[in-house]
């Protein structure tokens, strides 16, 4: 009542965004380069942070060119870090808006939005006797979180990267090898070629007896799943896939109105508002020309094209579109 229509928290956020009870966010305190295109970002999470389990990932919302974008990154810090900071390790992918921003441009002091950590790519309570980590590229990040978190007796790791200098955490991995805490096999794909999954018999002869965690590009994981299933030991394999769906922007497509459970075909020129209304979906509407914002609706999946500018908007959490001036650019899911 004292601050209506705002909440007291709107004022408190001005001075203490990391306080308990605030929307969860964190402050970037440092960015350490790991390789030419990867960096570790040190974040001090707000008081509401509930902690994580090694191997889990966190969704973080970063403002890039003024636009809030959300991405998921594995936590690479151990769970018992004394100073309460957590780290994520980010590899800049070509044209990746968020990854390039975090690796090359973000300044310490920046506030980022956080979700609570999640994911079941974690070690079980009862620690397995023999462990195998199969990783490639930035797929090493959740595994690094595990390696740093708990010491295991018998750990083998096969890691693929183009060149030695592309291996993230290489020095630390070699230290673990020197301390005999890890047996490491590096596959340098620029010189050795892509890893042939059949070579595992020679690289890690007892792979089938080991509890395995695999993380990397879809090709590697598909091959691993086939291999483990082929040998009847698929229950020993745990995989984590990054970026599950890649949106292909086309011209028109199947539109799903998920709240009303309707799916209809749409061309690339008809506004989604009309498509929905024709399908009998109750659509909020207004000026029907893109000026009043009375028709904004969440885009849950897929991509749409702005009929005025031709610009493509891809689904991401929190993305709302103006249905009166947007058409399907490939299959999409509208929350109506």
């Amino acid at each position: 009542m004292v601050t209506t229509p705002l909440l007291p928290s709107d004022y408190l956020d001005l001075v203490s965004p990391l306080r308990a009870g605030a929307d969860l966010c964190g402050r970037i305190e440092a960015v350490h380069p790991e390789t030419g295109d990867a960096a570790t970002v040190v974040i001090r999470p707000g008081r509401g942070w509930r902690g994580h389990t090694a191997g889990q990932y966190v969704r973080i919302g970063v403002d890039v060119d003024g636009v809030r974008l959300w991405r998921a990154y594995s936590l690479t810090s151990p769970t018992h870090r004394r100073d309460g900071r957590v780290t994520i390790t980010v590899k800049a992918i070509p044209d990746g808006k968020v990854s390039n921003h975090l690796v090359r441009r973000v300044k310490p002091g920046t506030l980022v939005q956080l979700d609570h950590p999640t994911g079941d790519f974690v070690l079980p309570q009862a620690r397995p006797a023999k462990v195998f980590y199969l990783t490639a590229g930035s797929g090493i990040t959740p595994v690094m979180g595990m390696l740093r978190d708990s010491e295991l007796d018998d750990v083998v790791m096969v890691h693929c990267a183009p060149r030695p200098q592309d291996v993230i955490f290489r020095n630390e991995l070699h230290d673990l090898v020197a301390e005999k805490k890890l047996r490491l096999i590096e596959v340098h794909t620029d010189t050795d070629g892509m890893l042939d999954i059949a070579r595992l018999d020679e690289l890690v002869p007892d792979w089938a007896e080991r509890e395995t965690w695999a993380c990397g590009p879809a090709g590697l994981l598909d091959a691993a799943e086939g291999h483990w299933t082929g040998h009847g030991v698929q229950e020993r394999l745990h995989t984590e896939r990054f970026r599950p769906g890649i949106v292909v922007a086309g011209d028109g497509g199947e539109v799903t109105f998920s709240a009303s459970g309707k799916t209809v075909a749409a061309d690339g020129a008809t506004p989604l508002l009309d498509i929905g209304e024709e399908a009998g979906v109750l659509m909020p509407s207004g000026c029907r020309m893109g000026i009043c914002f009375g028709c904004v609706t969440p885009l849950k999946a897929g991509a749409v094209r702005d009929l005025r500018t031709g610009g493509i908007t891809e689904a991401e959490p929190g993305v709302l579109i103006q249905t009166c001036v947007s058409a399907a650019a490939g299959p999409c899911d509208i929350e109506r």
């Binding site: 009542m1 004292v2 601050t3 209506t4 229509p5 705002l6 709107d10 004022y11 001005l14 403002d63 060119d65 003024g66 636009v67 809030r68 974008l69 207004g286 000026c287 020309m289 893109g290 000026i291 009043c292 914002f293 009375g294 904004v296 005025r308 500018t309 610009g311 991401e316 929190g318 993305v319 709302l320």
Partner: protein, 372 residues
Amino acid sequence: MTAIDPTAHLTSEQIEELGRELDAIRDEVIAGRGEKDAAYIRKVIAAQRKLELVSRGVLLFSIFPPAWLLGTAGLSVAKIMDNMEIGHNILHGQWDWMRDPKIHSTTWEWDHVSPSEQWKHSHNELHHTYTNVIGKDNDLGYGIMRVDEDQKWHPFHLGQPLWNFLNACFFEYGIAAYDLELGKNLHKRRRKTPEFRARAKAVGRKIRKQVLKDYVIHPLLSGPSFLPTLAATFTANLVRNLWTHSVIMCGHFPEGVQVFERRSIEGETRGQWYLRQMMGSANISGSKAMHFMTGNLSHQIEHHLFPDLPSNRYAEVAVKVRALFEKYELEYVTGPLPKQVFSAWHKVFRLALPNKETKAGAPDHGKELVAA
């Protein structure tokens, strides 16, 4: 309505070309939106909140006259900022592109008795789509005034200078009633529809909260300064209302602004829609501070062309828009605030009286202004 159509010299090809040129201006701004713009609105919001906090803090001691003056002035400015540069523009979706759920047209609520949701419908949708179309755009005179010679005169209009003055003083309540379409809904039958009742309830809730905050809780918190704080919040609301009413009057009422017939917008093209916005709006000239305090509605013409572009960009857009006015030989109605306010009030007084007899043989009013 003027007797001469100021757009008669344009061919329909020219009007469509004008539309394309305006689209290009819009696209350029959209492509260039970025970090600086986001930082701007966040800075303005933070500044507004700090100013309001400090002012209300000072008012706790408003029993001392200097504190009263300072706190009242600060609170007035904070309320103006909230309604104009922040609220009006966020509710237009100008900042939706940032994808920040806290600064978004679907979540924002403002320091105003009209709930955001209702205001967005009557303002963004009705007023901005049907700008200055008599019978469609009720912003023309808010249903209580006659603002054009072509509107039928009624003895009720004799009092319109007084209605307008009262509306200015209690502008936020006027807007809330207007958003509710109270006039139309006072008939018993309409009053009972569940839809109207729900909306009226929402307004009632909002008014209760606002009144409780401004006229009960904060004065009570001030203890011995109860009465001075009460007077201060009342004054701040009055100042804000008078100010916003003046700014908004300048947007469409000054002499030189065109109004349109319902028939004229049938089958309107994009170019014609743009042209109607250009001829139906007026600007206020002045300093940067002036533009800021009007929420950049001093760039009303640009705002009506591009209601969803971030307000901080209107000044740069205005230069290009004005060049188009010149290129197409159209009148860009603008002037300093006192002149525009006077012009608008002059019209209110003039149209309170019935029109003077039109001379026999005088040309009929230019009715199809745009859709010619």
